[in-house]
């Protein structure tokens, strides 16, 4: 009884002593933490990785200039060549920012989920007396930065190119970054709040549900956009058709959407209408501030409960063996070493069990397949051979670029992911070289099956001649070998054994270098194969009105030379990184 009374008294005392959450709030200390982190990272790069920093800067500047050139030409074309009623720039801005809003919401949601519920730093911060909302804001800011830095960086050449074409006033160049920064806070807040609510509601299935939602939304959006384009009346790319298309896309200009506010803000700024710009800037700022308050309140009320729920579900018991799955791998890859097949099974299981890893790829390849299957709806096969050739090479390039993201994102990190478990590989009774070659074999097998299927499907749909299909198939084979060699070789040469997150490994220096080299390789090979075809077919086209540029025998000679050159480059790009990787991998100690 006395114990109960004591507790009752205690309850009363403690209720009265309800703490003011601001008492332990230390926002400035968290900014100091970020500053320290940044200073040390940059300092370390300057001391130890000047070459890396130099290459990142050079590639960054080249990419920026390239984008600026493309945007400048595109806006110049729209401004001076396209003569239609509505302002095409305004329409493009609205569509661009609406698409971006959706992408940023999803991107911030996924990054926010990992930051809020999976990060060891979060667990540590939640042990401190910082208010829950402060930890949430700290992670929200990080998710916002990570999800939007690429957009902020890449939209600057677009804005400057647009400003120069539209002869924007001088203050446009100083004020547009403010508009963009304010804008990204809105989709980021929606995305992170969505992740929080999703985990609060379905803690166990939040990630899977999120991935399915994003995948479904992407596919539905793509199918819908495709139908809008296909069903627009008129001949494709004529002024009438464009006007009809803009009319069908009018919903992108709904005044209640954040994309509308930022688009109108920038259009007003371009036109020098400061009054209208100020109004929309205030609308964005007010909504950003309101969302911030809502998100903070939401976090204060639910974040810790959601965190607890996210870590309170029972682990799923997995089947003891998936013998059919193992049999497929052992039968399908009979030509590789058994130990290496077992390692591959291990890599494959890790990959399959993380939906965040493969879902994006599935969506991309799915969309591409969908496009290729429906390529006839666009009536491309009725075009001249010259155009069909151009379209087929564009399709091939897109498939190859997606393949490059696959090899950079999934194949490159394979060696790094061994990390602290590297001793298992070190003790295996197989030469280390065999392990790398087997990873290469798997990468090539998977890449060849997926890419050849897609490219041949596209060619068949375009009703291309058999020799063109053969040429494309050979090009794809060279690309698959080269991209796999690059990714496996560089992955072994530049491993990051400290990191366990494959996306971070892929986003690091080695992964970025691999991606850039893969892109350069693709462009070189595709250009080598496409240019002779283009010249020959362009000659045939012009031959209708005059004489052909190349004869068939000349074309055969040049295409044979290109094929040989591409094969030699492909061989070098496959073998050199693999040799470098093997040499480093054999000496690797941990």
């Amino acid at each position: 009884m006395s114990n109960a009374l004591a507790h009752s008294a205690l309850e009363t005392v403690l209720e009265q002593a309800t703490v003011d959450p601001r008492r332990f709030d230390r926002p400035l200390v968290l900014w100091w933490l970020r500053g320290c982190h940044l200073r040390n990272t940059v300092g370390q790069w300057l001391r130890e990785s000047r070459l890396r920093l130099f290459m990142i800067t050079v590639f960054g500047v080249i990419l920026w200039l390239l984008l600026f050139g493309i945007f400048f030409e595109a806006f110049h074309f729209l401004e001076h060549r396209v003569r239609i009623g509505p302002d095409l720039t305004a329409y493009l801005f609205h569509v661009f920012f609406m698409t971006l809003t959706v992408m940023l919401i999803f991107s911030a949601g996924v990054i926010g989920f990992h930051g809020l519920f999976r990060s060891p730093e979060t667990e540590w911060l939640l042990q401190t007396p910082l208010p829950d909302a402060r930890v949430f804001i700290y992670k929200y800011q990080a998710a916002m930065l990570l999800s939007s830095w690429g957009f902020l960086l890449l939209s600057s050449p677009m804005m400057i190119a647009c400003g120069l074409n539209k002869l924007a006033p001088w203050y446009f160049y100083f004020l547009f970054p403010l508009s963009l920064v304010l804008f990204v806070t809105i989709p980021a807040a929606i995305g992170v709040a969505g992740a929080l609510l999703l985990v609060r509601a379905i803690p166990r299935h939040a990630l899977r549900f999120g991935v399915v939602l994003i995948g479904s939304a992407t596919i539905a959006g793509a199918v819908w956009a495709y139908r809008v384009v296909v069903n627009t009346p008129g001949t494709t790319f004529t002024p009438d058709w464009l006007e009809a298309l803009i009319a069908r896309m009018r919903f992108c200009q709904q005044p209640l959407m954040p994309s509308y506010w930022v688009a109108e803000q920038l259009l007003a700024l371009l036109a020098g209408d400061l009054r209208r710009y100020g109004f929309f800037l205030a609308v964005v700022a007010a909504n950003a501030a309101m969302l911030y308050v809502v998100v903070v309140q939401l976090a204060a009320a639910t974040y810790r409960t959601a965190y607890s729920r996210a870590h309170s579900h029972q682990d799923r018991r997995l089947p003891r063996s998936a013998s059919w799955f193992d049999k497929i791998v052992h039968t399908g890859f009979w030509y590789t070493d058994r130990t290496a097949r077992l390692l591959f099974l291990k890599d494959l299981r890790t990959f399959v069990r993380d939906p965040a890893q493969w879902s994006q790829l599935l969506v991309f390849f799915g969309l591409l397949a969908l496009y290729f299957v429906n390529v006839r709806s666009l009536r491309y096969e009725q075009q001249a051979l010259y155009w069909r050739n151009a379209i087929s090479f564009l399709n091939l390039t897109v498939a190859a670029l997606i393949l490059a993201t696959f090899t950079s994102r999934f194949v490159f990190p394979l060696v790094s992911l061994e990390g602290k478990k590297f001793w298992i590989l070190g003790l295996l009774p197989v030469p280390r070289e065999t392990i790398l070659w087997s990873k290469f074999a798997y990468s090539v097998t998977v890449s060849v099956i997926a890419s050849e299927l897609l490219v041949i499907l596209s060619d068949v749909m375009l009703k291309l001649a058999w020799w063109m299909i053969g040429l494309h198939a050979a090009t794809v084979l060279i690309l698959c070998l080269g991209l796999s060699g690059l990714s496996v070789g560089l992955g072994a040469r530049l491993p990051n054994l400290r990191e366990s997150d494959p996306s971070r490994i892929a986003a690091g220096f080695g992964g970025t270098l691999n991606l850039v080299l893969s892109m350069v390789f693709i462009l070189v090979i595709v250009a080598m194969m496409a240019i002779p075809c283009h010249l020959y077919l362009a000659g045939l086209e012009s031959g209708r009105y005059g004489r052909a540029v190349w004869s068939l025998s000349q074309f055969r000679f040049w295409v044979g030379l290109s094929m040989t050159g591409a094969a030699v480059i492909g061989y070098l790009v496959t073998v050199i990184p693999m040799r470098m990787g093997i040499r480093h991998f054999e000496r690797l100690e941990i």
Binding site: R26, N40, E121, T128
Partner: protein, 256 residues
């Protein structure tokens, strides 16, 4: 009226259908070094996470120094420090910067914070590496920095999970001495460990958890008296766990 350092009142924590902590009632008094023992999967880490506020109980109440961890979490965490078995440090911060972050987060003044860091650097012999990035540290070095961070602000309740894993013998000895010293000065230590010899050496009381249930709580002497033996803690622990597991299995058989 003095509140207990840690109080778990009929606490249950479920992971789906699995009961990780089952109706746990436990009181750790101030100035006590309490060793929390149990086999793998017994629910020790879950209990620690409940005390630190990282998990919320399915039912029951967890109090630290009288503060309800769910309703007054910030106050509870203010007086508590947790040293996990896997030490967390920011890889791109030096040990000194990490310690600075800790004293600033807890609102200590700069002068006191800096002085405490110097004392702890000397105490844990960290001068050789404290100004290097944490990514270069070994497990033991990280563990020392994390211990220093926990002691920096002199918490009233120190919760440690496997405190001696990865520490070299001199540092392990130092940590054991520090834990005992803290309790002599009125501090409380809640220690989860598998190293029964350490528990036997330093603990004032022990609690043994098996399959989420507290099967024994008291001093080692009480346990020996109850069992009428002079056996070591290791033997007593194994006997208790075996008996309890058998009893639980029997209970399950009869209920089905």
């Amino acid at each position: 009226m003095e509140f207990p350092a840690v109080e778990l009142d009929h606490v249950t924590k479920c992971y789906g259908t699995k009961i990780a902590v089952d109706n746990l009632c436990l009181t750790v008094r101030r100035g006590e070094l309490f060793a929390f023992l149990g086999p793998n999967g017994a629910g020790k880490t879950t209990t620690i996470k409940l005390i630190c506020g990282l998990l919320r109980p399915t039912s029951g109440t967890v109090r630290v120094l009288g503060y309800d961890v769910v309703r007054q979490g910030e106050l509870a965490r203010r007086s508590l420090a947790y040293v996990a078995d896997e030490p967390y440090l920011y890889e791109k911060l030096t040990g000194r910067e990490f310690l600075t972050l800790v004293y600033r987060l807890y609102g200590m003044d700069e002068l006191t914070g800096k002085r405490r860091i110097e004392e702890l650097v000397d105490l844990f012999d960290m001068a050789g590496y404290i100004d290097y990035l944490a990514e270069t540290y070994s497990h033991g070095m990280k563990q020392r920095v994390v211990f220093a961070a926990a002691l920096l602000r002199d918490p009233e309740v120190l919760v440690v999970d496997e405190p001696l894993v990865g520490l070299d013998p001199p540092t392990a000895r130092l940590v054991k001495d520090l834990l005992k010293q803290r309790t002599r000065h009125g501090g409380t230590v809640f220690m989860s460990t598998h190293t029964l010899s350490v528990a036997e050496e330093v603990a004032d009381r022990i609690g043994i958890l098996n399959r989420g249930r507290l099967i024994w709580c008291g001093t080692i002497e009480q346990l020996r008296r109850e069992r009428q033996t002079d056996a070591r803690l290791e033997d007593l622990f194994l006997t208790l766990i075996a008996e309890e597991t058998e009893a639980q299995q029997h209970e399950q058989r009869t209920s089905t």
